[in-house]
């Protein structure tokens, strides 16, 4: 039976996806203005994955992300001001301006970091799960990674150990078909059904439509509970697509415009809105209210970040050692 959301939960789901979308669009503008530097990887098009998966977690569960981490951080309700300040390298950023876009951290929210070495976050997630198991805590770790990371040895080593030790890890594979400019057909021996690898390690795995936030929730919730109750790791492959370049530096010459347009017709936000309207879960007036408030949140984040101070040069030497 397909999952149904009550009005409040549905509005919250819409709000989070919309916040991610507008926040990311604003990041692109701030990058063009030169206030955000370095690598900037946007999550536009993939919102349903983060929102569907993360809203199915408990507050004290851990999340481990990659460099495309703004969507995960916002879905986890990290302070948008602190995220934008981080992107602008300010001392008020969630990581004190030391991490930037690829390294958002907020331990108070169980957000254990964005990592920029492809696949490097998988063993970290397995280690966090080891600590949960060792200390008999009631938590799980949700670990996000891309289709590109599946080709790293890390993926295999981590799945093997997580399964061997029956650790509480929810692996979320965001298959957006590309690792930078390379289509999986050109990088993976099968090119599809990446989730089948999990079978080799005795890990239950499912492939879902990552453009459908309800499908993500519907799949994630029972799998998370299975893991939480000692069933060992699980893997979710979410088929998704980024509507924008890999990063702001993307030449954009490797994807067919028709392919992009085709995927845009599956926009996760429009799709969810259509569903909610048709089921009378919420109305156009509700949407208008949320849109206005989300725009304000993003404007406030930019203002907060711009007005924040750069870190003191002296602070550079702090927190290298305890």
């Amino acid at each position: 039976m397909p999952i149904t959301l009550d009005k409040q939960k549905a509005l919250e789901t819409y709000e989070l996806m919309k916040l991610i979308r507008l926040f990311e669009e604003e990041c692109a503008s701030q990058y063009m203005r030169g206030l955000i530097r370095g690598f900037l990887h946007l999550y536009i098009g993939e919102e349903a994955v983060a929102v569907g998966a993360i809203s199915s977690l408990n507050e004290d569960d851990y999340i481990v992300s990659h460099y495309r981490d703004h969507g995960h951080a916002l879905a986890r309700k990290l302070d948008p001001n602190g995220i934008m300040a981080e992107l602008m390298g300010k001392s008020t950023g969630v990581s004190g301006g030391r991490g930037g876009s690829m390294h958002l951290f907020d331990v108070s929210k169980g957000f254990m970091g964005g990592y920029a070495i492809v696949g490097g976050q998988l063993p970290i997630a397995v280690g966090l799960a080891t600590s949960i198991d060792y200390l008999s805590e009631d938590r799980v770790v949700m670990c996000f990674f891309g289709d590109g990371a599946v080709n790293e040895g890390y993926f295999h080593e981590s799945l093997n150990l997580a399964s061997l030790w029956k650790l509480p890890v929810v692996f979320v594979l965001e298959n957006n078909l590309y690792g930078m400019g390379s289509h999986i057909d050109r990088t993976h021996a099968t090119g599809h059904n990446l989730y089948l690898s999990a079978d080799e390690y005795n890990i239950p795995a499912t492939q879902i439509d990552g453009m459908d936030v309800l499908a993500v929730m519907e799949t994630a919730q029972p799998l998370i509970e299975r893991t939480r109750s000692g069933g060992g790791p699980v893997l979710i492959e979410a088929n998704t697509y980024r509507f924008v370049g890999h990063s702001m530096a993307d030449p954009g010459n490797y994807r067919n415009i028709l392919e992009i347009e085709e995927w845009k017709t599956k926009d996760p936000i429009s799709k969810f809105v259509e569903h909610a309207l048709s089921q009378n879960i919420f109305g156009l007036d509700d949407i208008a209210v949320i849109d206005e408030s989300v725009k304000q949140v993003v404007r406030d984040a930019v203002e907060f970040a711009e007005q924040s101070e750069d870190p003191e040069v002296e602070s550079m030497y702090r927190e290298i050692h305890g």
């Binding site: 004190g96 063993p123 080891t130 200390l135 040895g153 290298i320 305890g322």
Partner: protein
């Protein structure tokens, strides 16, 4: 005061870590049933059980990475990577993850962990199993690197590593495990970042660490018979590095020789030599000399291997020639 081997000292440190902290656990390849490739953790599995002594798949990346993650989650992992040669497969977790966590999270996360591993050549294990990469790790802010050369330091440094809130690479030399030495019964420790003068002399300073310490002490004894008194300094930690002790000595002797088993080009000895000339240039009577391993992949043949690793006679000959300048 009792006699212990280096192996026993390391084990003693590990027992103390395990007994004093329930959250401390060991992980590594063949550390449990097998007892450890160098038998350091023999008996641990029986005493502490499988929860706290974990035999790992041969998967160095996830061994190191799981240790990092579990430290982030509140545990105190002590990892054994069978030899430093295999840490190359774990290097990304050590350098890009363990060493960066506290910094990038602006202090929200700390990674207290010890990664024990085995360095050095001389055992006839040829090119891929005889290398000295501790200097590479010493290059990285966020890591600490210690290199005990005797049983006293092995235990004393281990105790300081246990107190440390940061990732430490604890580097054991493959030929030192059975070396014996005095170890006090009462508690002591050896602070990280403190080198030691292990032999006094006024004619020349030899700066070294790890497996080369005993080689240099042997050379110093030979030189003494010929009227040259060498001061030998054991660095003990490569990061944090105590260069002051060596500078002070060089100001006294006016001469410095840096001895390491590693290759010379870009090696850790270059760091020492450079720091000494920055700090003691006006006191030097002759150029600082580096004695290092030959720049070849380690050959297997005993004769070739011996020729590739610095020995006491090489140190003696070099210093005698230096004293004539």
């Amino acid at each position: 005061m009792g006699k212990l081997t280096v192996r026993e000292s390391i084990s003693k440190g590990l027992y103390e870590a395990m007994d004093s902290n329930e959250r401390c656990y060991l992980l590594g390849e063949d550390i449990g049933e097998y007892g450890g490739a160098y038998a350091v953790t023999k008996g641990f599995l029986d005493k502490y059980g499988e929860k706290r002594v974990r035999d790992m798949p041969i998967a160095e990346s996830v061994i190191a990475g799981a240790a990092v993650g579990s430290a982030m989650g509140g545990l105190f992992p002590i990892v054994e990577i069978m030899t430093i040669n295999f840490t190359l497969l774990a290097m990304d977790q050590i350098v890009n993850h363990a060493a960066k966590m506290r910094y990038m999270s602006n202090g929200q996360i700390q990674v207290p962990m010890i990664l024990r591993t085995v360095t050095g050549g001389g055992g006839g294990l040829a090119a891929t199993h005889s290398q000295n990469f501790e200097g590479w790790y010493a290059n990285v802010p966020g890591l600490k690197v210690v290199t005990p050369s005797n049983p006293y330091d092995a235990l004393g440094l281990m105790r300081s590593c246990i107190e440390s809130k940061d990732p430490v690479i604890y580097v054991e030399h493959c030929l030192l495990y059975s070396v014996t030495g005095d170890v006090p019964e009462e508690y002591y420790n050896v602070p990280l970042g403190k080198s030691v003068v292990c032999r006094e002399g006024q004619d020349v300073t030899i700066v070294t660490y790890g497996g080369m310490v005993s080689v240099c002490l042997e050379a110093a004894d030979k030189l003494s018979e010929q009227g040259i008194e060498a001061e030998v300094i054991d660095l003990r930690s490569l990061r944090p590095l105590d260069i002051e002790t060596s500078v002070k000595s060089v100001c006294k002797t006016g001469r410095a020789v840096v001895v390491e088993e590693n290759w010379k080009t870009g090696g850790f000895g270059a760091e020492i030599s450079s720091s000494l000339q920055e700090n003691a240039f006006d006191y030097l009577e002759s150029p600082i000399i580096r004695i290092s391993g030959e720049e070849v992949p380690m050959p297997y043949s005993r004769k070739l291997e011996s020729a590739a690793i610095p020995d006491a006679s090489k140190v003696t000959i070099t210093i005698k020639a230096m004293m004539e300048i």
